[in-house]
Symmetry: C2
Subunit: 326 residues, 2 copies
């Protein structure tokens, strides 16, 4: 079958490599023509997946319509801020459309699959999310992930398309919970990175992960997600890897923030976006609308968008009054 992967960042490229082993026709679309041509000519995506040789059978494109046309499976893997503009250009697809983008739209409060479902009501929409550092997937290191769709047949089809011995795909019907877990953990990971940058160590981060997953579950449940989803791979699993791995972009962004660099300067120097930055804004807006307390997300918002002193913010997260655990 023909598979269209939209986005030539780390994750889109890693998934292209993963899917290229069965003889399917894998097309990768990128917006940045220079990058597309460079990957095409070198057989590597050095900017996002350094050191990884890509299968020669992958096709690269800058024409969106040609990429998507007649694809049975479309993978949406661009940064969240491009999704709202990109989706209408895809037309009224009827294929399986899987979002691997982690974010929340600020205006609507929708997750990426929500935007897809609204824009293309006949598509079979799903999300694929979990603790999946792209570079480790590209290296063939064992990984597990969740394919989620309101329609069980679609979730199963996505599972069949992506499942490999070293890439185990589980299914879920709670697409909202799976996507909110993937989006919100990036915000908590910024706080974890700040702990690293301040030299606060692993005890602090473990406490942050514990409070962070409770906060994610609280907000997610208020949005209509299932609470237990946040205990799974796409919630707790993804939060853990993002808070502790050296390879995590959002943790790395927070670490530099913790060392005293201004947010704007860090963002300007990064090849790819730290999704936790826009997600902090969307999640805060969502939580205020729903009346859900989100102390960690509030402090990350204040650090990133209002220039709050990072040491003060982390102390404000950790030094709440001692009381029975909630």
């Amino acid at each position: 079958m023909k598979v269209a992967i939209l986005g030539i960042g780390a994750w889109g490229t890693a998934l292209a490599k993963l899917l290229a082993d069965r003889g399917d026709e894998i097309w990768v679309w990128g917006h940045d023509a220079a990058l597309v041509h460079q990957v095409q000519s070198s057989g590597r995506n050095e900017l996002f997946l350094p050191g990884i040789d890509l299968p020669k059978t992958i096709r690269y494109e800058t024409d969106l319509a040609r990429t998507v046309q007649a694809s049975e499976l479309v993978v949406l893997g661009v940064a969240s801020r491009f999704v709202r503009d990109l989706v209408p250009a895809l037309g009224d697809l009827r294929s399986i459309v899987v979002s691997v983008t982690k974010g929340i739209d600020y205006e609507s409060g929708l997750t990426m699959s929500g935007i897809l479902a609204n824009a293309m009501p006949r598509a079979r929409v799903a999300a694929l999310s979990g603790p999946t550092l792209a570079l480790e997937v590209a290296r063939g290191i064992p990984t597990a992930i969740v394919a989620a769709s309101q329609d069980p047949g679609t979730a199963n089809a996505v599972q069949r398309a992506f499942h490999r011995p070293v890439f185990r795909v589980y299914t879920s019907a709670d697409v909202l919970g799976v996507e909110l877990g993937g989006a919100l953990k990036n915000v908590v990971a910024i706080a974890a990175g700040v702990c690293d940058g301040l030299g606060f160590g692993d005890n602090s981060k473990a406490a942050l992960v514990t409070r962070g997953i409770a906060e994610m579950r609280r907000l997610g449940t208020a949005c209509g997600a299932q609470p237990e989803t946040f205990s799974g791979l796409s919630g707790l699993g993804d939060l853990t890897v993002t808070c502790f791995s050296r390879l995590s972009r959002n943790r790395g962004f927070g670490e530099r923030l913790g060392r005293g660099e201004p947010a704007s300067a860090i963002l300007a120097s990064m090849a790819s976006v730290a999704e936790g930055v826009p997600t902090a804004k969307s999640a805060r807006s969502l939580a205020r609308r729903l009346g859900v307390p989100i102390p960690i997300i509030e402090e990350v918002y204040a650090m990133v968008h209002e220039g709050k002193d990072v040491r003060r913010a982390v102390i404000d997260i950790t030094s709440r009054e001692s009381k029975p655990e909630d």
Copy 2:
């Protein structure tokens, strides 16, 4: 007040340093006279807490009765295998007795506070557990922990005794859940270390943490603990730090196992015990008695106690049939 700390390992020493700042009389007892004298004369515990200067007000003892006599607070911090022999020697204490030892007694299936409560019915028994790498606590890095007792007054008294601006103590009435979290996470951490030793990366460990906490909750709940305790600092928090931190002994033991060293050789070379090794045996016995499936603990038991091939064991943990997430 007089505080007796039993055990001169990393954790006992770090807690002595923490408690010595308020003018209380801190006594540290150790079984190993040579180590006790060395710490006393040098003002450092280089074996277990390298580079940390200890307050000069701490008293060191090798006489157990003298240490415990007239103490208002006794902290049990010896390795779990010594607890069953040590406890009767303490006599029928009426003070607060806090276990900071993480383990499960093989014969009885009891946690450490259970052994204490049986042996000294008039003592006010509690447990103190959470994501607390001793070296980070000794360095004054922000840390959070849980004081648990069936008696709320005792939990509050322990909280007051230990709480500091950089060492935040929360309370819980679920002492069994708090202790089982602390004990069982050491077993899962061995599996996480094996992943590291095999070069399996952070995606694998995140999946393991996710499945591990579910397994810990399942076994703990069958023992009578509260399920939500495993989502707190003493469950998830401690599991996370132990699986990801370079400083974790149990993870480190697993890493060497993953690189091919035999368990017996690693244990012989370690200054302190990897508690996950005996706990794997106790937990497996407990789970079999209760009929609870514990695939991760079973595989760790097989690797450590039966010499099962580590790559085979980790594959057996991770490659179970793909299915809806449970």
